[in-house]
C-alpha cells in the first residue's frame, strides 16, 4: 500500500512529508518576531484571517537557520494550532511506499527525531519528516 507524500526540500535535502499532515502550501507574508521565544520560532504571520506560528526549520533541525528570504511554507496543524514550516522549495505530491529506516542509519541533529521512515523516488531515498517533531514544545516523547 502506498500513501500520498509531499516532496519538498528542507535545508538542501529532499524530504517527504506525509500529505495527511499538510494543510496547505503557501507563500507567507510579513513575519512578526516573537521576542523571547525559542530560536526555532521565526515569528507570527497572518494567513488569511488566521495567525500561524512560523517555524525556522533549519534551527529546529539543529542546522543552520533557514535564510530570511525563505517564504514558502507548509502549513500544518499540531494540537489545535497552525504552524508554518519554512521549506526551501516544494516539488510535487505523489504516492509512495512507506519504508522503515534502514538499520544502522546514523541520522544526526534533528533529523534523528524528525525522520520516521524512508520513501524511494526513482531509486533516490527521501527521508520522511514528521512535521510535529519539528516543533520542540509539542514534540512527542519517543
Amino acid at each position: 500500500m502506498s500513501d500520498l507524500f509531499l516532496v519538498a526540500h528542507i535545508a538542501g535535502r529532499g524530504v517527504a512529508i506525509d500529505a495527511a499532515q499538510v494543510d496547505s502550501v503557501v507563500d507567507i507574508g510579513d513575519i512578526v518576531a516573537v521576542p523571547r521565544a525559542g530560536t526555532f520560532v521565526r515569528g507570527l504571520a497572518a494567513l488569511r484571517s488566521r495567525v500561524v506560528t512560523v517555524i525556522d526549520t533549519g534551527t529546529a533541525l539543529g542546522l543552520a537557520p533557514t535564510p530570511d528570504t525563505a517564504r514558502r511554507a507548509v502549513i500544518t496543524m499540531v494540537e489545535g494550532h497552525h504552524y508554518a514550516i519554512l521549506v526551501d522549495s516544494v516539488e510535487d505530491v505523489a504516492p509512495f511506499q512507506r519504508l522503515a529506516l534502514s538499520p544502522g542509519l546514523a541520522l544526526q541533529h534533528g533529523w534523528a527525531t524528525a525522520g520516521t521512515g524512508i520513501v524511494e523516488r526513482d531509486g533516490e531515498p527521501l527521508l520522511i519528516v514528521d512535521l510535529a517533531a519539528l516543533i520542540p514544545a509539542s514534540a512527542p516523547v519517543v
Binding site: 521565544a37 526555532f40 507570527l44 488566521r50 495567525v51 506560528t53
Partner: protein, 769 residues
C-alpha cells in the same frame, strides 16, 4: 418571575441529567466523597432557589436531603444502601416536581413525608412509588449551549476578518473594480456589521436579569430570620455577557443570603449596637474598564475573624501553628475554605459550609476575583470582579522598537511619561526602579527584556498584578483597540510573557502581553510582607473620600468628594455680585458661588463645581491639595463658626492636623435659588438701540434675562422704559430711566441711565414689590 422559574426548571433539569451518572456511581459506592459532594451541591442549589421562588415542597425535600448529606459529610453518619436509596428517591421526586411545575400539572404530595421519613437512620427501606410520567410543556425559548454561542462569536470574527481582507485585496488591485462588485461588497459589509451586533447582543444581557430575583429573595429570607433589611440595587442597566450572568447567579444568591443570615443582626442587636433597626444591603454593578464590579455591601456585624480561625482549628482544616502564621488577609480568606461553616447552628438559609467555597470556585472559573473588605461590627463589603466578556478584550497597544504589543486594559493602572521630578527612573543596585509621584516601584524595560533596544524607556505603563504593581517601560503608546484574542501556540506561550495572539485590522499579527508573566520572567520579587500589608490595608473599611483644599481665607478645609462635579479655574471676571449673592457665569448659565474670602487682585480662581444631582453651585478656593479619606470621627462644629468659614459640619483630624469639614448640605440649603430660569427683564425699546447695546449686557451680567418682547406665556419680573418714551401696557413693575444726571423733582422715581448701582438696586427693589 416566570423567567426565573423557567431558568430554574431548565437548570435543574440539566443538572439532574448531568449528575445522573454521579448518582449511579454513588449508589454503587456510598463512601465516594466526590460523588457525595456533587449531589450535595445539587440539593443545596435546589434548596437555595426554592427559597426565593417560593416552592415550599421542593424546599422541604431538598432541605431534608441536605441535612442527611451534611451529616455524612461531617462524618456523623455512615451512608448505607437504605439511606442512599432514600436520598435518590428524593432526587427523583425533585425531578418529577420540576417537570410538573413546568407542565403546570399538580402532583400528589402525600408520599413526600414518607420520602423524608425514609431518610431517618432507622427507617424501613422505601417502597418506590411510581408516579405517572409527566408530559413536558412546549417552550417558546431555546436554551443554547454557551459553547455554541462562543463558536458563533468566533465564526463572526472570522467573517469580519475575511471581509476586511476582501476589501483590502480589492483596494490594492491595480485594475479598477467593477462597481457591481463594490456594491456587493458594500452590502456584505452592512450585513456582516449587523450580524456582528446581533451576535454580540445574543451574549449580552442586562445585569438586571441577575438582580431582579433579589428583592423577593431578600424579603423572604429576612422575614424568615426575623430581620429587617432594606435592599438597594444600583446599576441594574450594566450589561454583562450572558454566560457571566448565568455563572454569577449562584454566587450572588449565596453572598446575599450570607449577608442577611450572618451579617445583618436582628433588630434588637442592631439597636443595642447603635444602628438603625433596619439593616441596609446594597447590591450594585458598575463597569470599570473591561471588568464589571458587582458589589454586595451590608452594614451588619462583619466577619469575626477570631471565630473563623477558631472554627477552622476545631474543624481541623488547618493546624493551630498554620493558623497562627497566617496574615489577617489569609485568615479572612478562610471563609472560602471548603467545609468551613462559621455558624454554630444550622438554619434553612445558610451555614453548612457549602457556599463560599462554591462561590469562589464559580468566580475563579470565569476568570474573576473576589475581594473582601471587612469592618468588624460595621459591615462587610464583597466586591466581585468579573470580565465583561470572554471573547473581546479591550487593550492598549504599545510600541517597543519596531514592534507592537497589546496590554489588557484592566491590568493598567496608569500611563506616565518620564519627565522631571514627578516621574523618574532610578537604579538601585543593579535593579531598575521608578518613582512616580513619591511612590517607588520596580521597573521592567520591555525593550531590553525583549532584546529590542536599550536605554531608558520614555514612557511607563504602570501595571498592577495579583502580586504587586510595577512599571513597564515602553517606547510609545500607540492606540486603544478592542481585540479578539486567541490562545497562541505552545511554542509562543512557553515564553511565559504572552497571554495570547490577535490579528488587528492592519493584518499584522500582534501578541498580547501577560503582565504577571513578565514580572515573573523579569525576576521581580514582590515581598510577601508587602503584599500582606497591602491586603491588610484593604481590609479596613475605607472612609468617605474627600478633597483637601486651601480655602480663600487661608484655612485648610475638606469637602466630600462625592459632591464635587469637577474642579476648574475660572476668570474672576466671570464672578459677579448680583441679586444679593455671588454668581459665577459659566457656559451660558449662572451658578451661585460661595466664597469665604476676597479674590484679591487675582485674575482667575479655582472653583469647585458642586452638585447634588439637581442644582449646581460653585465654591471658590485657593488651591486643591489632594484626595484624603475622612476618618470616621468628626468633631461637630458649634453652630456657625463666628467670623469665617461658612457652613462647617465639623472638624476632622487628617494627618494629625485639624481640618474643617465643609457641610455641603448647609451650602445647598442656604441657596434658595435652584437652577431656575433667571428673572426676565422687559426692555421697552425706543428704537435707538441704546437699551439693547448698553443696558442688556449690564443687566444680563447681573443675572437677568433681557427681552424686548415677551414670548407667549412669559411674564416679566420687571420692565424698563425711558422716561420720554410712551409706556406700554405691562403687568410688571416699571423702572423709569432718565437721560440726565439730575432728577427733575424730588418725587421723580426715575434713575439716571448710567448710574449702574442705583439701577441694579432699583430693579431688585421693584422686583421685590
Amino acid at each position: 418571575m416566570d423567567d426565573l422559574l423557567e431558568d430554574f426548571i431548565a437548570e435543574t433539569r440539566e443538572t439532574l441529567e448531568a449528575i445522573s451518572g454521579e448518582i449511579v456511581a454513588w449508589e454503587s459506592d456510598p463512601a465516594d466523597r466526590t460523588r457525595l459532594d456533587s449531589i450535595f451541591r445539587f440539593v443545596h442549589t435546589v434548596k437555595g432557589s426554592c427559597g426565593f421562588l417560593d416552592l415550599p415542597r421542593l424546599g422541604r425535600l431538598s432541605h431534608a436531603a441536605e441535612d442527611v448529606l451534611a451529616a455524612v459529610r461531617d462524618g456523623s453518619r455512615v451512608p448505607d444502601t437504605a439511606m442512599v436509596n432514600a436520598v435518590l428517591a428524593i432526587v427523583d421526586r425533585i425531578g418529577e416536581l420540576v417537570e410538573a411545575i413546568d407542565a403546570g400539572a399538580s402532583l400528589d404530595d402525600t408520599s413526600e413525608s414518607l420520602l423524608i421519613a425514609a431518610l431517618a437512620p432507622d427507617a424501613k427501606p422505601l417502597v418506590h412509588v411510581a408516579s405517572a410520567p409527566q408530559s413536558r410543556a412546549a417552550s417558546r425559548s431555546v436554551r443554547l449551549n454557551v459553547d455554541l454561542l462562543d463558536h458563533m462569536m468566533s465564526g463572526m470574527s472570522e467573517m469580519v476578518l475575511a471581509r476586511n481582507e476582501l476589501a483590502r485585496r480589492l483596494r490594492d488591485s491595480e485594475s479598477s473594480v467593477d462597481p457591481q462588485v463594490e456594491a456587493a461588497l458594500e452590502r456584505l459589509s452592512l450585513t456582516v456589521a449587523d450580524m456582528r451586533d446581533t451576535v454580540t447582543r445574543t451574549r449580552m444581557q442586562k445585569v438586571d436579569a441577575l438582580f431582579s430575583a433579589l428583592p423577593r429573595m431578600v424579603r423572604d429570607t429576612s422575614a424568615e430570620l426575623g430581620k429587617a433589611v432594606h435592599l438597594v440595587i444600583e446599576g441594574a442597566d450594566v450589561e454583562l455577557d450572558r454566560e457571566m450572568i448565568e455563572l454569577m447567579r449562584d454566587p450572588l444568591v449565596h453572598i446575599v443570603r450570607n449577608a442577611i443570615d450572618h451579617g445583618i443582626e436582628v433588630p434588637g442587636m442592631r439597636r443595642a449596637a447603635g444602628k438603625s433597626e433596619t439593616g441596609r444591603l446594597v447590591v450594585s454593578a458598575r463597569q470599570s474598564g473591561n471588568q464589571i464590579l458587582i458589589e454586595i455591601a451590608d452594614d451588619g456585624r462583619g466577619i469575626d475573624v477570631a471565630r473563623i480561625v477558631a472554627k477552622a482549628e476545631q474543624q481541623k482544616l488547618y493546624s493551630a501553628a498554620e493558623l497562627a502564621a497566617m496574615s489577617d488577609a489569609a485568615k479572612l480568606d478562610l471563609i472560602f475554605a471548603p467545609g468551613l461553616s462559621s455558624r454554630d447552628e444550622v438554619t434553612a438559609i445558610s451555614g453548612r459550609g457549602v457556599g463560599m467555597d462554591v462561590v469562589r470556585a464559580n468566580i475563579d472559573q470565569i476568570g474573576g476575583r473576589i475581594a473582601l473588605t471587612n469592618d468588624p461590627g460595621h459591615g462587610l463589603r464583597i466586591v466581585v470582579h468579573v470580565p465583561l466578556t470572554l471573547s473581546i478584550l479591550s487593550t492598549i497597544v504599545i510600541g517597543v522598537g519596531t514592534q507592537r504589543f497589546a496590554i489588557p486594559r484592566q491590568s493598567i493602572e496608569e500611563i506616565v511619561t518620564v519627565r522631571g521630578d514627578q516621574v523618574r527612573i532610578e537604579t538601585i543596585g543593579d535593579a531598575a526602579a521608578v518613582t512616580v509621584r513619591g511612590r517607588r516601584m520596580p521597573m521592567v524595560a520591555l525593550a531590553s527584556l525583549f532584546g529590542l533596544g536599550a536605554g531608558p524607556p520614555p514612557t511607563l505603563v504602570i501595571v498592577s498584578t495579583r502580586e504587586g504593581e510595577y512599571a513597564l517601560g515602553v517606547d510609545s503608546v500607540v492606540d486603544t483597540e478592542e481585540l479578539v484574542v486567541k490562545p497562541a501556540s505552545p511554542a509562543v506561550m512557553a515564553t511565559g510573557v504572552y497571554a495570547g495572539k490577535t490579528l488587528p485590522d492592519n493584518g499584522l499579527p500582534m501578541l498580547l502581553l501577560d503582565t504577571s508573566g513578565i514580572a515573573a520572567v523579569a525576576g521581580l520579587l514582590f515581598a510577601p510582607t508587602l503584599a500582606n500589608h497591602a491586603a491588610a490595608e484593604e481590609a479596613v473599611v475605607p472612609g468617605i473620600p474627600a478633597l483637601l483644599f486651601d480655602d480663600l481665607d487661608g484655612q485648610r478645609r475638606a469637602i466630600a468628594l462625592a459632591v464635587i462635579d469637577r474642579v476648574e479655574v475660572v476668570p474672576t471676571d466671570a464672578i459677579r455680585w448680583s441679586g444679593g449673592a455671588m454668581r459665577l457665569s459659566v457656559g451660558g448659565a449662572l451658578v451661585p458661588l460661595y466664597a469665604v474670602g476676597e479674590f484679591g487682585g487675582r485674575a482667575d480662581v479655582s472653583v469647585l463645581r458642586l452638585t447634588d444631582g439637581e442644582s449646581e453651585m460653585a465654591y471658590a478656593i485657593t488651591d486643591a491639595i489632594e484626595i484624603v479619606e475622612l476618618p470616621a470621627e468628626v468633631a461637630p462644629a458649634r453652630q456657625a463658626i463666628p467670623g469665617g468659614g461658612g457652613p462647617i459640619a465639623g472638624v476632622v483630624l487628617i494627618d494629625g492636623e485639624p481640618v474643617e469639614l465643609v457641610d455641603p448640605h448647609a451650602l445647598f440649603a442656604g441657596e434658595p435659588m435652584k437652577a431656575a430660569a433667571p428673572p426676565v427683564c422687559l426692555l421697552q425699546v425706543d428704537g435707538s438701540g441704546w437699551m439693547e447695546t448698553f443696558l442688556k449686557p449690564a443687566l444680563e451680567a447681573s443675572g437677568y434675562r433681557c427681552v424686548t418682547a415677551l414670548a407667549a406665556g412669559e411674564t416679566a419680573a420687571v420692565a424698563l422704559a425711558m422716561e420720554d418714551a410712551p409706556i406700554r401696557e405691562t403687568a410688571a413693575p416699571v423702572v423709569m430711566l432718565r437721560r440726565f444726571r439730575t432728577a427733575e423733582g424730588d418725587d421723580d422715581g426715575s434713575i439716571y441711565r448710567y448710574d449702574r448701582p442705583a439701577l441694579i438696586a432699583a430693579i431688585a427693589a421693584r422686583r421685590a414689590q
